[in-house]
Structure formats: C-alpha cells, structure tokens
Amino acid sequence: MKKFKEWLRNWDEDRFMFAEDKEMLEEEEESGGDSWRPMTISGLERQEFRLFTRAFPVMAGILALVMILFLLSAVLQLPAFGSADTPPAKSGTIRRYVEQGMQETGAVNIVAGVILDYRAFDTLGESHVLFAAAAAVFILLLFARDPQESPESKAILRSDPILRNTAKVLIPIIILFGSYVVFNGHLGPGGGFSGGAIIGSGLILYDMAFGPDRLNKILTLKSYRIIVLCALLFYSGAKCYSFYCGANGLETIFSPGTPGRIFSAGLILPLNIAVGVVVACTMYGFFALFTREQI
C-alpha cells in the first residue's frame, strides 16, 4: 500500500505519465531522437503487470462462476412457466387485462391496450425521453462542427446502378410494411415504435441509394422539427384530456368502438401514428447527422 502511494505520487498530471518515463523522454528529446516510441515501464511495474495478467483471468473466472451460481439459484426459485402462483397472476391486474381489456380499450392486441391505454403515462414518458435524446444528439452534432463535403467514396457508392434498381423495388415494400405495422398496432403485433423503425430504415435506404438531395425537398430540419413537435404535442394533449376525464369520472369523446375494426380502440390508433412518425423521423435524422453532419 505504501509502495502504491509512492508509485502514484510520481504521476505527472500534465504529461499523463510517470516521472521516470518523463525523464527518459526528455533525455531522448534532447538527444534529438524520435518524438514517439513505445511507453517504457520500470522493473517493478513490469512485475506488477505480469502478476496482473496472470491473476486477471483467474479472478474473472471466479467472479463469473459466482455470478452464474447466484443467477442459477435465482432461476431455480422461480415458479414454473404459466403456473397459477406467479406474482402477476396473484395480483389481479393480469386477470383484468386479459378478461376486460378488449371491452375497456377496444384493442384486440392486449399489449397495445396496456401500453397505450392502461399505462399510457409510461409510454408518454418514453416518447419524451426519445425526443430529449434526439435533441441532445442534435445539439452535439449540428452546431459543433461545420458541415463537410461528402467524401468521394460515398459518391461512388451512391451512383451504383445495382443498388439503385434494387432500392427502387424494395423501398415501397418496406415503407408499405412499416405503415401496415403502425396502422395495425391495435389489431395485431406491431405498433408505433416497431413500425416507425421500419419506415425509418426505408428512408435510410432511400438516402443511401439516391443521395440526400431528393429527400431534402420534403424532409428538412425545419419540417423535422415541426413534425416531431406536432406529434408529441398531440400525444401529450390527447393523453392529458383522457387523464383528466378518467380521473374525474367524465365521459370521453373517444369510444372503444367495435373491437377488430381498423377505426376502433379510441386513442390507440392516433397515438400509434404519432409515435411512429416521431420514431421514423428520429431514425432518419440520426442517420443523416452521423453521415454528413447535417439533416
């Protein structure tokens, strides 16, 4: 411990190296040698380093074994899959979701009913977290550096005829499938997040195949801001209205409708569309920012 303290005291804050190395480097600089060479370590450090490299795998293996034992013992204590004494089955909320979820929310897909109706507050927070993350990335990437000209290799890739013709076939199908997933969120597996990610990947493929010029006519930074802001404001406003009505026991104008129809389930379909728009635009915006530092 004392030795370690001495060793640490030799640390030079300014040059990020130890005093011995600094002296050796200065000697070499004076004699006019190369400015860069591999970092040298003294005998004691080398011994410690060797000990460390030998002890590290052993200690890591012991730690991994202990973690594996803990996790396996926890798994052994879990109730069997689908048995009646699991904690959510005992609590009663799951019975309510399964038995009355379809009448109360109007969604055939109970998961959509849970995340966008029973627990919509949670999903609202998630959308805002996504928006905050996107805003932080925009601040870091958009105003930190000047936009650069795209390198030559990207231009070569963009002019590839095979990629262009395949993209012409694939992009309509991808965007159609993404819209289907968004609009079908309350009837089957899907929803705003997954469908928006599919639409966003279709936009990214379009950008890679045809370049940013054509897409920039529709999707600029200004239109991105307007779209995302409108979607999030609509989400917040609609949920505020339904929270207010629900808390005060008032009738809402959104009815569950007939389960199974496309225009049913009250607010779930418009909320899915809003979330999908936000996710698709954010994915494309991130891609544009990371490749050419402008949107």
């Binding site: 030559e152 290799s153 070569i156 890739l157 095979i162 990629l163 395949t166 694939l170």
Partner: protein, 108 residues
C-alpha cells in the same frame, strides 16, 4: 417420418454450409474472399434451412411466409455483399496485388 428425415437432412446440410462459411470468414485474409464466404450464409445456407423448415411444418401459410423471407433475403443480401466489394475496390490502393483485372473500368 419420411418428411422428418428429409427436413433433418436439409437442416443439417444448411448447418454444414453455414459452418464452412464461418470457417472461411475467419480463415481467409483478403476482403473479397471473406465477403464471398460470408455471402454463402444468406444464400445457400438460408435456402437449405428455410426449405427444411418448410418441409417440417407443411402448413400453407407458414410456407408462404418462409418463401417471402427467402425472396427478400435473396434480393437484399447479395446487394450488401456487392456493396462491400464495391467499397473495397474504391478504397483499397494496392488492389492489383490481390486481384487480376480482366479489363480496366474507367468509371471506378
């Protein structure tokens, strides 16, 4: 029973193809060889495995979905390999030490 045996043969040959491809990805050193080896996974290996799954399920809806997956993978994944090769051609300065050009392209 015959169906099970057929699907097992197809699945195992798909696994062997994938194993050979993974071996090639780590064994070869030049990008083009590795790319060609990796592209084998999602053409031949995927074809054999999905055919085995089609045989073992036998339902029409499952078969149609698997055929759809196969079609889209066969459209998109060769393009990915092609783009990797294209990037290598446009970036690598000493390409001619690895590859023999039959005719020189002016546009690249």
């Amino acid at each position: 029973m015959l169906r099970m045996i057929l699907s097992a043969v197809l699945l195992f040959s798909g696994l062997i193809i994938i194993w050979i491809s993974v071996f090639g990805v780590f064994r070869f050193h030049f990008v083009m060889n590795r790319m060609q080896s990796a592209a084998m996974i999602d053409t031949m290996g995927l074809f054999l495995i999905l055919t085995g799954l089609m045989v073992v399920s036998g339902e029409r809806s499952v078969i149609l979905k698997l055929i759809l997956i196969l079609v889209f993978q066969w459209i998109s994944s060769p393009i990915a390999s092609h783009m990797v090769g294209r990037l290598e051609v446009s970036v690598d300065p000493d390409l001619s030490s690895h590859v023999v050009f039959e005719h020189h392209e002016e546009d690249t």
